[in-house]
């Protein structure tokens, strides 16, 4: 390797240029081979943890729960206003939103996967 690097000075003979381009082509082929051998699909089971620090993780989980409850509450409130069924829309959708929030938290924590064949309902 060291003598090959020594030959790479600028202003060398064209023979060295050819050798260099041959090496580059060889390297390109090896890179292509490497790319092809890479697993094409991610394993759907274990997700890598989305965040590393404990604080970020805690914040992520709590915001998932709050988001679920809030979206449920807003949808329930809108249904109440449009259909005039107050307070039943809010009650039902708040509960459903809470369940969705818990589902979000379980997925974010990796207890259940985002969607695999072995999803535990």
């Amino acid at each position: 390797m060291s003598n090959a690097r020594g030959n790479g000075d600028p202003g060398d003979r064209p023979a060295d240029e050819a050798a260099l381009s041959a090496r580059l082509r060889h390297l390109g082929e090896r890179l292509d081979h490497q790319r092809a051998s890479r697993p094409p699909e991610p394993d759907s089971g274990a997700r890598p943890a989305a965040d590393s620090s404990a604080m970020a993780r805690g914040f992520r989980l709590s915001s998932e729960l709050v988001a679920g409850v809030l979206v449920g509450a807003v949808i329930g409130w809108l249904l109440d206003r449009w259909l005039g069924i107050s307070p039943w829309g809010l009650i039902v959708f708040l509960l459903l939103g809470f369940v969705a929030g818990v589902l979000n938290v379980m997925r974010a924590a990796g207890v259940t996967t985002y969607g695999g064949p072995d999803r535990q309902g």
């Binding site: 991610p42 809030l70 979206v71 449920g72 979000n104 999803r119």
Partner: protein, 248 residues
């Protein structure tokens, strides 16, 4: 002394009037432009030389590319690389603007929920539109988990839809709340330093504690600025994965 004064939006100059509304170039827009210009300089300027053995700045650009490319490949697969420009733009825009926001007197773009909500809704609608375009009606299998008994299926579908709808909310609130809370905390502790400093010699001695905390918090904020950009990008990857591989 007002800890939320830093989040004020100021009009810099008037651009024009659209549908009866005045459109102003604000300080927020100026810092967005700054983030884009810095990103452009970093990515175009450092790779212009294109040496086989990268220099310091060129390897910075290459490491950033590799980092995001690996994130997309690991979470979505090779198929997801067509979304690489989107994920990379989101990541680098949030990262650079968070970092710029840490400089004193700078404005933090992502401390306004309208910005983070816009970015999160962009991802949300990209997932819906691409999912429907690519998979057609099969995409709705995302809401119907397999192996669930028929009698509780309607309930499960309702919950799955709600869970899906809550995504842009948690996606945007997380970034916004982290940046807002961090900057307010920093400002409050820095305010203690000047307040105690006005009390004379005893106050100067007392001001050492909040000063030390301010330095420590700045280091923490640096970590949070990177981490939140990373979390935003990786969640984008996870959501895009649902658009490409729904149902299962």
């Amino acid at each position: 002394m007002d800890p939320i004064h830093q989040f004020n939006i100021n009009n810099l100059f008037h651009i024009g009037t659209i549908a009866g509304r005045d459109i102003h170039f604000t300080n927020s827009a100026a810092f967005m432009l700054l983030a884009v210009v810095l990103t452009g300089l970093l990515m175009l300027g450092t790779t212009a030389g294109r040496q086989l053995v990268p220099g310091r700045l060129q390897s910075l650009a290459e490491v950033t590319y590799e980092f995001v490319a690996n994130m997309v490949r690991n979470n979505v697969g090779e198929e997801g690389m067509k979304f690489f420009p989107l994920v990379f733009s989101l990541f680098i825009f949030i990262l650079i603007s968070n970092m710029v926001g840490l400089i004193p007197y700078a404005f933090t773009i992502s401390s306004h929920i309208i910005i983070t909500a816009t970015l999160a809704l962009l991802v949300f609608f990209t997932v819906i539109v691409y999912g429907l375009w690519k998979n057609g009606l099969h995409w709705f299998k995302l809401f119907v988990p397999s192996g669930v008994p028929v009698y509780i299926l309607p309930l499960i579908v309702f919950i799955e839809v709600l869970s899906f709808l809550s995504r842009p909310l948690s996606h945007s609130v997380r970034l916004f709340a982290n940046m807002l809370a961090g900057h307010i905390t920093l400002k409050v502790f820095a305010g203690f330093v000047t307040m105690l400093g006005g009390l004379g010699v005893l106050g100067w001695a007392g001001a050492v504690l909040p000063l030390g905390l301010t330095v420590a918090l700045t280091a923490l904020e640096l970590l949070v600025a990177f981490l939140q950009a990373y979390v935003f990008a990786i969640l984008t990857c996870i959501y895009i994965n649902d658009a490409i591989h729904p149902g299962h």
